[in-house]
Amino acid sequence: MPEKIRVIVNEDRCYLCGGCAGVCPTLAIEVHSSGWEFFQDKCISCRICINACPVGALSAEPLEVSE
């Protein structure tokens, strides 16, 4: 099982180009004119969005497991 992650954006690097949303297989990211939005419940931790970002604006942090 791959580690479950939360995808986070560095807003200072992000151009809101929509590429991450375009490559996401599960619509876990939406890029609006006003900002970037991540839907944890849809994310499958595949990291495709992180690799695809042309500027490296996305990164992953391990998802904390609730005790």
């Binding site: 929509g18 375009g22 695809a52």
Partner: protein, 396 residues
């Protein structure tokens, strides 16, 4: 809640969207074209080069307001610096100002009768009894429901509306390129030509481009496979450093992801059509998609008009059929070529460009690729390499 009703709503005013909106409006149907950007065409996500043939073919005025300059060919550079120049006597392409071009395409749609709303973001589809009857959108801060008989998803690489409508636009990560581009001051390159650098260390799977805009201004960009662990920005900055090109006069930074394969199988679901980047209708070799978007938009609008005239939305499915029989078939062949060229080593690229920089350049410029491959196959360094022979034969 504000409500609107149109025959057709088109989401996205890139290239495909305005072509559809213009053509459908010309036939007398009511059309709304929306775009989430406050200024259509801005920011650009493009190197701005296009064949000169598209203006006649798609009935677009050859307007100097959006044509920066005419281009007479291309110069290709191999990893070790061998050069191949393909120069035509007459202009073969143009470098556009996309910010003006896109806005003018929307203007032509508006002039033809379409309504156009900038800063209107499509958020979701509206479904009734399982069928899409319109879209939910937001115009500035005001929510709006737009009802339409036909919904066109021309919403770019994200293809949010297409996917929410149930059209499968998924493509695996290897079928996307990550792209990064500076519009910058740069000197020392023939401004009548586009310039392309190839090499697995320079731009894995893709290339670096210089597309001149003025004598000393150009789009300087890169596309690499999007599943690469390093970023497109990393590779472009490295190339600039290694070529001693100062990156200190940057007028714009443009970023995007380009679909270079994984064409959408079913382009229509009930009354929803997907066109352009959203449908992955992009040339997989060079990553250009404007002409492909124009072609798809033309085919799509033809069937939308017929379906509305005959009040038979089943006819929309003919868009899928016709696209796959024509441009889809062509692009599938190009995709095969890309998959072969992906296997080329830097030594292969050096050798091929070296061989072709001689007598065969005229044939390449004429677009006779079969003859070019045959010429490569005759060279001793190719003949002695079974791997190269196999690769080249796959291209024939």
């Amino acid at each position: 809640m504000k409500e609107m009703k149109y025959d057709v709503v088109v989401v996205g005013a890139g290239i495909a969207g305005p072509i559809v909106a213009r053509n459908v409006a010309k036939s007398g149907f009511s059309v709304l074209l929306i775009d989430k950007k406050p200024a259509i065409g801005t920011p650009k996500q493009c190197a701005e080069g296009i064949s000169i043939k598209v203006f006649d073919k798609y009935d677009i005025p050859y307007d100097r307001r959006f044509i920066n300059r005419e281009i007479y060919g291309a110069k290709l550079y191999s990893p070790s610096g061998y050069e191949l120049e393909l120069r035509y006597k007459e202009a073969s392409g143009v470098i556009l100002e996309r910010k003006v071009f896109d806005k003018m395409l929307a203007y032509y749609a508006a002039k033809a009768g379409a309504d156009v709303l900038a800063r209107t973001e499509a958020l979701d589809v509206i479904k009734k009894n399982g069928k899409v009857v319109g879209i939910k959108a937001k115009h500035e801060d005001e929510p709006v429901e737009i009802y339409a008989d036909v919904v066109v998803a021309a919403d770019g690489v994200e293809s949010t509306i297409a996917r929410k409508a149930g059209i499968n636009t998924y493509a695996p990560p290897h079928e996307f390129d990550s792209s990064y581009e500076y519009e910058m001051l740069i000197e020392g390159f023939d401004p009548d030509m586009i310039h392309l650098w190839f090499g697995n260390e320079i731009a894995p799977r893709g290339y670096v481009w210089v597309f001149p805009k003025d004598e000393d201004r150009a789009n300087v960009g890169i596309g690499i496979n999007s599943d690469n662990p390093k970023t497109a920005k990393y590779y472009l900055d490295k190339w600039l450093r290694e070529n001693n090109i100062p990156a200190k006069k940057l007028l714009e930074i443009n970023v995007g992801v380009v679909p270079v394969g994984g064409f959408v199988k079913d382009l229509v679901k009930d009354n929803v059509l997907v066109v352009g980047d959203a449908a992955r209708q992009v040339n997989p070799m060079h990553g250009g998609g404007m002409a492909e978007a124009m072609e798809a938009g033309t085919i799509a609008s033809k069937w939308i008009v017929k379906a509305l005239e005959e009040e038979n939305l089943e006819l929309l499915k003919n868009y899928t059929t016709e696209w796959w029989e024509t441009d889809g078939k062509r692009l599938e062949k190009v995709l095969k070529v890309r998959r072969v060229t992906e296997k080329l080593t830097d030594e292969d690229l050096d050798l091929f460009i070296q061989i072709l920089s001689g007598a065969d350049a005229e044939k390449i410029a004429g677009g006779d690729y079969g003859e070019v491959i045959k010429a490569l196959l005759k060279h001793p360094k190719v003949l002695l390499s079974p791997r190269r022979i196999t690769l080249l034969k796959e291209l024939l």
